[in-house]
Symmetry: C2
Subunit: 250 residues, 2 copies
């Protein structure tokens, strides 16, 4: 892998944490995405440039591993690398490290280029990928799918209306809201007593301002592992799925 | 005024902005509150220390003036000063300036000390205020009240359930959510076509995890000025009121 690496410091702000004084998973992803935006700006591949060409980057999947959630006021190092790409997909890695170099979290993400007029996935434009020095590959990665939500019994549901300020400067519902919707569907006792270790989230369909989404969550205690399975649905469409692994909170 | 001044740089992060690429008012307030938390930590008046004594700081009112909302990626200077206090109230000022010293926004805020066991306002403890070198005054400031929402006609309403991640590390519903609830009750066309210039927000009663709040907003176009009036209510309680002044978006 020869993609250019980029790193930046980030001090965890109080409004990136929840009542446990740890970063929320949505904000963890935001902090990582910030590093990739800052790298892109530094390399001249700004959102404005991409938009000017009639395109936009869209995330289709994140695979997240968390060793320890960063804490309020903690200084962390965020490292990212646009590792490789093929005709349609770009693969990017992220790492969050503590001040003394301990790996706290990592993430592997899949990006596609969306043609804004056709609303269809476009072939990766050389001028938008070359600045990152990523490896071209013929292979399409076969990433694991999030587990499916099967049982309709015992599924916890909550409804949310997409708000004006949920739409970020990229004109998408910001990532953080999908995570918040998914997590908030779990009981507070569960969230207080468990730490998120792994999450596989896959985006299928965009949601828009004013849409009402239903967040559906199932807690699977049958296995030896503690798992949760999640769906975000609008009335007729499955928009986003995820599965998570947890350990008891120390 | 002799309170110690504190200033810090802040670069506007993409997740602090909305689709207009400008900071949301809730995040503007968060960015200012961050400076006061950082000052307090530097002076040893940490949240932990205040909590250890059985107290917590609670905001009762913000008066906000905005000349220009900071934009995505903009570097700003945040300045704060714990200006003065009397037996029960602390008054703090905030300024946000652009890199070349232009004042973008200011805020005057009122804090009280809450006895966590009695859930009542307590007298300001000398050890919690002395580090700031604020002026003691006998005067209680007579700040303007937010305008009252009178008309029941034409009041726009939306309901929100307080989410797990709305509760921040201070165990309160983070400020940003009150602002988001208030703003989101306005139509998107209004938010896109106007800039917020002034806001007077007063907190009356805390809301808690799981509460459903109703955000009520009235757009007053009768006057020469463009005004909005806001309420946040739980079923039986008026929790927060605000009034805003706007100008057409350039």
């Amino acid at each position: 892998m020869s993609g250019k690496k980029y790193s930046e410091e980030h001090k965890i702000l109080f409004y990136e944490t929840d009542c446990t004084r740890r970063v929320t998973v949505g904000m963890l992803v935001n902090i990582m995405m910030l590093a990739s935006q800052d790298q892109s700006n530094e390399l001249g591949v700004t959102v404005k440039k991409v938009k000017g060409l009639g395109f936009g980057w869209v995330i289709t999947q994140h695979l997240i591993d968390i060793k320890r959630m960063p804490r309020i006021y903690e200084k962390v190092n965020v490292i990212t690398e646009a590792a490789s790409y093929n005709r349609y997909f770009c693969y990017r890695d992220f790492w969050i490290k503590s001040e003394n170099g301990e790996e706290l979290a990592k993430m592997h993400s899949v990006f596609v280029l969306m043609d804004q007029n056709k609303r269809k996935i476009a072939r990766i434009l050389p001028e938008l990928i070359e600045p990152y020095s990523s490896d071209y590959t013929n292979k399409i990665e076969r990433l694991p799918e999030p587990e499916k939500l099967i049982s309709d019994e015992q599924v916890k549901t909550k409804k949310y209306q997409v708000r004006f300020m949920d739409i970020d400067s990229n004109q998408h519902v910001n990532n953080v809201h999908y995570f918040d919707w998914m997590m908030d569907a779990l009981p507070s006792e569960f969230l207080l007593e468990h730490s998120l270790k792994k999450m596989n989230i896959k985006y299928k369909q965009e949601v828009h301002y004013g849409d009402t989404v239903e967040s559906r969550a199932y807690i699977d205690l049958n296995d030896q592992e503690i798992k949760t399975v999640h769906q975000i649905k609008t009335e007729h469409t499955l928009c986003c799925t995820a599965s998570c692994e947890w350990i008891p909170q120390k």
